[in-house]
Amino acid sequence: MRRLWQGLLAVLTLGLGRRRERRRDEGEGDSGGGRGHDLVEPGPHNPGTELGVAALFLLAAASAVAFIVVYSLERFPAQHELFGVTLAAAFGFLGAGLIVLARRVLPSEELEEDYPEEEHVEAGIEAATIVEESGRSITRKRLLTAAGGTAGGAIGLAALTPALSLGPWFHTEPLRRTPWRAGRRLVDREGKPYRAEEIERETFYTAFPEGASHRTLGSMLVVVRLDPARLRLPRERADWAPEGILAFSKVCTHAGCAVGLYRKPTYPPTQPPPGLVCPCHYSTFDPALGGEVVFGPAGRPLPQLPLAIDGAGELRARGNFSNAIGPAWWGVNLEKPS
């Protein structure tokens, strides 16, 4: 019954609303339209609320002034936080004032009208006809289309050509190049050569080629020492790890981050063996297996660098990496690093 009553009420207001709308539409026609009060419903009349809105606006102003004051005082305690609070208060109070104004003071009419016309079939057809009829005098349409298309394509290509200067698009050689050569010493960040006896177990060291840039991906190494008896290196790398000291490229073969984590078992019998781990996507490489991937998304092993210990007890490279460094690309496996 209540629903029926509500429905009746809705129909009634709807009817009245409709009539009023119509009256408005009529009013639009005459020259005096827009003057009277009949275009907009009267609002709820809340003089008390208007006072509240004014208060909110003034609070906004006060907060804005507070921001200016805080700004002008040098080295105010918690200045940065107060900047945020005062500015937020200024915007917040103004916003709150407007919302209260809209809800309590201004008319909140609910109107209705037709949705815009769904389709303009006639206009569409006429437009198409204009295009079609404009070309009626052309006799060699296909020839012109082909020639015009060729011109457009060629000009497009010409316009794109300067983009070739953006970079060495086709010179992929640098991707394979590394500064490592036989005899080159391994040094730390400050350029001090690494001595074999400094390399301890259960930690890792970052090394660079002596005298080369630290920035290129091909230079950085991660160096670890393992128990020589536990090494399971590929046969051809039998002499690459003197005293169990191993060096690998520090660039993850997955997405190029620095392999910056070293997983070392704190209780070897039950825990996984030592692993070089990339902190970006957790590709895990086993140094004892010559850098093989044991977990994570990397698709290629971490390239190993053959090491030697010279007469002075310092670490030197015996050649270049076992395979190309860095993330994979189309031709990454085609050639060895140079």
Partner: protein, 463 residues
Amino acid sequence: MVGGQPGEAELIRRALLWLDARTGAAPLVRKGLRYLFPDHWSFLLGEVALYAFIMLVATGIYLTLFFEPSFGETTYTGSYAPMQGLPMSEAYRSALELSFDVPSGLLMRQTHHWAANVFVAAIVLHMIRVFFTGAFRKPRELTWIIGLLMLFTTLLEGYLGYSMVDDLLSGIGLAIGYGVALSVPVIGANLALGIWDGPFPGSTVFESRMYVAHVFLLPILIATLLAGHLALVASRHHTQFRASKRATQRRIVGMPAFPAQTPRSLGLMLMTAALLFLLGGLVQINPIWQWGPYETYQATNGAQPDWYLGWLIGSLRLMPGFDLSIGDYVLVPNPFWGGALFPLVVLGVLGASPWLERRFTGERGFNNVLDRPRDAPGRTAFGAAFFTWVALIFISGSADRADVFLGLDYESQIWFYRVAVIVVPLLVFFVTRKVCAELQASDAIEEAREAAEEEAKAEAVAA
């Protein structure tokens, strides 16, 4: 109130007629003032995104007045003691100076960063709302596509924003971007070398390229898409829920732009600004002094990017380790799956949704009235499953945090997620469809009960 005194009304009238004589705008203004906005809280999500964008432009312009987009080397001498004398790029130095030595600089930078996070969040929630109410159906497919393009442009824009700073977080993110670029089948290496002007970390012009993209090209693209999005919304009008009997496919019911909607919407804009300034002032975001300048040989799992890249981190991490190869050629290097193909699939599926739905339902009419999710069980179930899939991949991106903070074994978690991303969405699909059917059935029962009650009452009255 407007029209309180005759003098005031006369002034407004004169101003409008002056403008009309020179622009012919009066009919447009007249129509615009009474443009109708159907009312529902979820319709505000798009507005919040718009206002966050305005905040981004405003705070971003301020930041450009201080930031020096250069990889040029310098030494830090600013007021942050721990970095005194540290060699770094001009970009990083100026970002530190902006944060420590420019009054209100930190507020603007943090507000900018918060606005970016809120912007993407509002777009995503808005998109989900539009999806589950079927608002993307004819005649609004283009609006939907433009919105999606805006979302993906925004992701790139945000990524470049934190990458320009040249701190450790920037560098790690860029290294991954480089890895993904390299992984594009066949042309990846060429692409990466062209964009970075050489092998990673690229030449000094790379910073200029990021800068012009971040402060000019992409913002203009976003603004253009935004303008198109809004123009299409206005020309087809808003969709509406069937809140009353008057709201139909042909009649729109709502509050007029003026006076009802304008102060509400302005109020929302100011509230959005207030929230962002409050966050920017009180909640630390991207503390660029924490990790130091980027060196290619450094990486840490402590530096976390913005939330909206989480789904890509998750997808890169979940992928089992293999490079798809033919002989010595690597056809698909691993990062391509998670870093490029996955977001493209998401974009493609969402973009094709209006047409996919049309194929399945055969419905070709105009739609102005929104569905409640239960009214379209197929769409709702598919959407729930699809978004669950993306969300699970997103959550899997935080498995390392769960390891650090909760002690859950990382490798076991990854194996769990690898299975879950396949199984759970399927479950979600069937459960959601069932729930929708049940809800529809309960609606039908409710209606039948009410009808019977009315009838009984009518009979009682008659008796």
